[in-house]
Symmetry: C2
Subunit: 414 residues, 2 copies
């Protein structure tokens, strides 16, 4: 490889201490010396973010999100400066840029900002000067010149957005595993590394808890057609390529089994069957930036419904506060929650042309004695909410059911 424009993204654990930063610098310099132009996106060093949050807690129980962004964005700023120094120490010219300097514009939603545009002028200039450009992930600047952070998956998203803006040939996402697997190799030792996968499949897998790549980043990559390469920072093996696959017949109907334990369920009972009630609830949740995943509304008796929905478990407390408020406002009898649930999903572009895949999944789960609480389907995935205790069993059962097991157990992934 050579003569390419490459964006490389390294997470917080890859730059956790000076030794690891040196290792990243070496890898980046190798890529540069192979004849490529390189932009590197890094996160904050290991525990930095937690330490900064700890400091903030000592000063305020409810620090404003604006000031938290001001505080937390220093984490990546330290990483980029140190990585640039390490690269320069290896004899290559480098320049570090904050999100703002790299032209990352966002909306004004502090702590969860969305990228609204990239002005790559500075980036282009530094690359043209032959420099390795080191950009702070996870952050940007909003219209009023404030620093914002992008929230979860922010560094992945930064990398993909920059790759799109500068029309990079590939965006390499470095991680501690070898690529994207048919399922979590810690649960199923016979999981396979996928050589390539489509954006949609990756999107579903990422949304469903395959933590190797954040769904926001995949979505961005899909829209701007950025070729992703998910690979290990510990070796030079080819990982998994994520790109728009020319629509050949898919070999595998199901290409992966994903699970997510960060799930909680809330159920409202006996909600009056009047227009606007559900809207009120979900608008209130949206106003607090709580993502609702599955929603089920079932008419049980005359004039009243049960409404169940799932959210990320770590937003349960916030969601319960809102639920309390809504309960008083609409005078609904009661609600309940369950935080010992999990989501299990099968994903595959081949499902579109293969009817009966969902039924096959339900049958496998039923045969294993696993009860399904909620179901949600899309063109290329089927998800079920089940009891959290059954999730590993479910993954194994489905991985076998859909012929994903390889012959020999592998230990390529940690």
């Amino acid at each position: 490889m050579g003569g390419m424009l490459v964006v490389q993204k390294f997470g917080g654990s890859s730059v956790a201490d000076p030794e690891r930063i040196k290792r990243v610098a070496k890898r980046v310099v190798e890529t540069k010396r192979a004849g490529n132009s390189v932009v590197v996106v890094v996160s904050a060093m290991g525990d930095t973010t937690d330490e900064l949050i700890g400091l903030a807690r000592q000063l305020s129980d409810t620090p404003s999100e604006r000031e938290m962004d001001m505080l937390l964005s220093t984490g990546e700023q330290v990483s980029i400066a140190l990585l640039a120094m390490a690269i320069e120490n290896l004899g290559e010219a480098a320049v570090s840029l904050t999100g703002a300097q790299a032209g990352v514009s966002t909306n004004e939603v502090y702590a969860k900002a969305k990228i609204t545009g990239i002005n790559s002028e500075r980036l282009d200039k530094e690359l043209a000067a032959g420099k390795i450009v080191v950009v702070a992930g996870f952050q940007g600047r909003c219209a009023n010149d404030d620093t914002t952070t992008l929230g979860r998956g922010g560094s992945d998203t930064t990398a993909v957005a920059l790759a799109a803006a500068i029309k990079a040939d590939v965006c390499e996402i470095f991680t501690d595993v070898d690529g994207v697997y048919t399922t979590d190799p810690r649960v199923v030792p016979r999981a396979q590394k996928l050589p390539s996968i489509s954006y949609d499949e990756m999107l579903e897998l990422a949304s469903l808890g395959a933590l190797v790549l954040h769904p926001r980043a995949v979505e961005f990559a899909k829209i701007y057609n950025v070729k992703l390469h998910v690979r290990s920072s510990f070796n030079h093996n080819t990982g998994t390529i994520v790109e728009e696959v020319a629509s050949m017949e898919k070999e595998m109907v199901v290409s992966g089994v994903a699970y997510d334990l960060n799930v909680a369920k809330i159920a409202f009972f006996d909600v009056p069957d009047k227009p606007g009630i559900a809207m009120k609830l979900f608008s209130a949740l949206a106003a607090e930036n709580i993502n609702v995943d599955m929603i089920i509304q079932s008419t049980m008796r005359n004039d009243v419904n049960d409404i169940s929905f799932t959210i990320a478990k770590d937003e349960l407390n916030k969601a319960l506060q809102i639920s309390d408020r809504i309960k008083q406002e609409i005078g609904t009898p009661d609600y309940d929650y369950d935080d010992s649930v999990a989501k299990i999903s099968i994903v595959g572009a081949g499902m579109i042309t293969n009817p009966g895949v969902a039924a096959c999944m339900f049958e496998a789960l039923a045969n294993a004695g696993i009860n399904i609480q909620m179901i949600s389907t899309s063109e290329i995935k089927v998800s079920c909410i089940i009891d959290a205790d059954s999730v590993k069993k479910a993954v194994k059962v489905l991985h076998t059911k859909f012929d994903l097991d390889v012959e020999e157990e592998n230990s390529a992934a940690s």
Copy 2:
């Protein structure tokens, strides 16, 4: 006091930990609640800068100054975010601004940038909205959008520059002593706190090692006529006011005795007496941003000179490297250095109209058996380079000689 526009500056030791930040927040909120508009300028927390430098050293022996500025500027960014949170926690609206956000423009001399202008638009807007504005000292943004740090005295300078830009009524410099003293109270317990002092006197005292206020900041204050109030962060006593005194007859001929141990002397021997030699040497030092203080050139024999000059002791190594280079270039026989010297100075606006003050100083030193190595004078000060071991004796002798001793020893300063 009330209805004023006040800039308050707190140094790194005042914000060294969350408890101290809370104390600063309390003081700032008091000032606000007395009816004033408040801008606060803070430095990085206590040891943060040293810790960041330690990290950088692990990655490069010679980190670039640009990347050091990127790294070190995170220190103040953490302070401002935490202080803003602490203020909000006390119920007042606050907003933190980096140097760049506060409109601090600098030249492109990394690590030692000079402020070239202030755009106070954002500051004015936030003040008009009733907010306490917390600004990162020591930093700015240069024309190419890079972050720069201002070097020594940078936070004092930021505070004064902002005060000038927003036309503040007063710029309060909080410190660990009660104000400006006639000399170092640790050396002379009978030193007096000066109720007021002119910019020129303060400038000389500051230049001469009275560390309470950096000369750059005083210079700025003088040019823009910013009233300074040097006061203690531990009590509410009035400190020392620095302002342009209406030119009445000065009560005291000498208003202070200052000393500086951060001094080293370099002497070139037998330099060919040709034009441009001295220029070559001092240009080379200036190119490396080394400030030369006193210079003495003396013709000793035919066609050759001795040239001696003083610099800050902590720049001696850099200066010696340059001296080596120059020695080879101009083929001068040899040079030597002495890092066990000190500078002792007397300062007073009244000196202009009182001839013989210098002679009086030399006499007092001679009587005390202290040898003078170099002399430099201005309209309001006389400085001598003497042996470092004699400096405390010299301070005491001069403080008494010029009638600065108070009746009783004081312990107001630490």
